[in-house]
């Protein structure tokens, strides 16, 4: 498994679930792992019974930590802890006018985020004494997440010089190295999520220079087997819904919804270009559909990835 894995996907498909499961799976294999989030709030810690984490890495389990990115904290850490340039930080970066610019400048935050992610697995040990073998990146939703991967090559075109240029080169180099960085794409068998995955797959290939490791279908309805489009053609459903007039319309609606999910998932997984893994919908296979249980289900389903080169 490469040192940095970017978990991409449409909003709401379960990127955090997959990121937590990848992290927990690697940690269970004795690796030191950090799950780096960039979110309104850290969603993952409560699943492990912990308080929400801020920028500082917080432990979820032995060998497993998480953090939530903040650009203010990352910039300070970068200049003060990593570069040891406290005076420069306060004179220039913390300058009121420069601060206004860095807050507004598009692309800068993305670059600082990427720099931080690679710093975690390369230089953090030297700077802070804390070693991480892997960083699993819970990226912002697809449009922003895919754009993130293109930022270092983009900054190369800006004619940067000085120290910042060296940093961009370093990050672009790490992102371009298949042993160092990889992506997985998460989707659900819903129309808009599958559309988005198909649309963004080639873009991710282009930005990263290679295909993602896998497309992961979360909330898979495969446990239902094949479902005929017409509920009346489905013997077990008829038996279940019969003699329940009050609920019949609602049950038909749920059936129709699930039948479409099954059909879409089938069409998607038979697309040979995308290597797919499926995580069962916890609502179908488990009476306990708590986030903890969902992460455990995902961890099982992702087993083929542990042996990824």
């Amino acid at each position: 498994m490469p040192r940095v894995v970017f978990v991409l996907g449409k909003g709401g498909v379960g990127r955090s679930t997959v990121a937590a499961a990848l992290g927990a799976g690697l940690a269970a294999r004795g690796k030191h792992v950090i799950v780096a989030q960039w979110a309104v709030v850290d969603a993952i810690s409560p699943w492990f019974g912990r308080d929400r984490a801020g920028y500082a890495p917080a432990d979820l389990a032995p060998e497993l930590a998480t953090m939530n990115y903040s650009s203010e904290a990352a910039l300070e850490q970068y200049f003060v802890t990593h570069l040891g340039m406290r005076a420069l930080f306060h004179a220039v970066i913390a300058n009121r006018h420069v601060r206004a610019a860095t807050r507004a400048a598009p692309g800068l935050e993305e670059l600082v985020f990427l720099g931080m992610v690679f710093w975690l697995v390369t230089l953090a040990e030297r700077d802070t004494g804390r070693r991480f073998d892997h960083a699993i990146v819970d990226t912002p939703a697809m449009g922003h997440g895919a754009s993130l991967l293109g930022v270092p090559s983009l900054t190369r075109t800006l004619g940067l010089g000085g120290m910042l240029a060296g940093e961009c080169e370093r990050v672009a180099g790490l992102l371009g190295d298949p042993t160092c960085a990889a992506a997985v794409v998460v989707t659900t068998p819903d129309e808009l999520a599958l559309d988005e995955t198909r649309e963004f797959w080639p873009r991710i290939e282009r930005e990263l220079g290679r295909a993602p490791l896998a497309a992961i279908v979360n909330r898979s309805a495969r446990a239902l087997g094949e479902l005929p489009a017409d509920p009346r053609a489905c013997a077990w459903f008829e038996e279940l819904a019969a003699a329940d007039d009050a609920a019949r319309a609602g049950l038909d609606q749920v059936y129709a919804h699930l039948a479409r999910r099954v059909a879409r998932e089938h069409a998607f997984t038979s697309d040979a270009r995308l290597g797919t893994l499926a995580i069962d919908d916890a609502l179908l296979v488990a009476d306990d559909a708590s986030p903890r249980r969902v992460v455990a289900l995902a961890q099982e389903a992702l087993a083929p990835l542990w042996s990824a080169p």
Binding site: G12, G162, L164, T188, A235, L240, Y255
Partner: protein, 354 residues
Amino acid sequence: MTARLAIVLGPGGVGKTTLASALGLAHARAGEHAALLGVDPAHRLRSALALPELSEHGVRVPIDAPGSLDAALLDPSACLRRWVADACPDPEQRARIAANPFFVALADRLASFTDAIGCARAVEWVERDPALTELVLDTAPGTPALELLARPDKLAAFFDGRLIRWLARFAGGIYTGRTVSRLADLSGTGALREFGALVSTLEGAIAKLVERLELARRWLRDPETSIVLASGVGEDAAAATRELARGARALGFSPRLIVLNRVLPDVLASSPDRATRSPQAAAFARYVRGYLRAQQRARAELAAELTPVIEIADTAMLDAPDRLAALTELGEPLRARLAAQRRVDRPRRLRSRV
């Protein structure tokens, strides 16, 4: 602003695009001259409206209604090029701008720029179409959507700030102050000069942008403007919605309405509970039970918010044979409730002002 603004925010996967489309269609059915602008770089609006094509300029959605609905996707590249063309009549100067690496980076590659100019694009729409009465913004999931609310302030501060004047003068070889020279040590003088050159050639376009950002700032804070928070039954969706509500409030915006989307009828709770031998039937029954439990949890979580909550059932809607009609029907209660809530909020706001 002459048009009324509604911004749909929410965590991913709860149906923001669907709800925004539904609201836009309901406006058209009610006789409004409405527009729907997708500010999500992921571009799902086209699929949601089942349109063959969706452009930056706007496409009239083919519906039979007393009003109308135009839908457009924010395309930062086309948008910036148009703004530059509006402000710089000189083709040579335009060509120089188009070749500037910072301009290319902004226009073509950066998703975060979509949120940055979303509000300014909305203002431009009203300028160009003064007959517009309702504008609905569909946003990207999560944090970037909050950026959409905060960016007009941030960008206006940037373009009005001293640094940008320093950079322009630096590019012209006039300025050699300490802060900019130290910045040049960090990033190289080449890049700073390119950026400064871009800023000074774009003076006209930037002035227009600052003007639109100022209008957007005021529009966002207009008492008629509504922030609609979409939420779902899914794991953590309600909690994420509350976080967005908190984030919006921290920026000084009070959400008008929370929509709990994709609610199943409660009558199903007692229904598929009989013993069955088929594993598929057992899985199905488990699904319904689990979904309704999650629905209860989402309700309880959202009930703790001050903002009123409405529930919407749409499970099968999207695949209905006439999607636009189904969406319009979905949007009607939303539109009605939003209007009612606006009336409720109005006197309260006036009182608090006194």
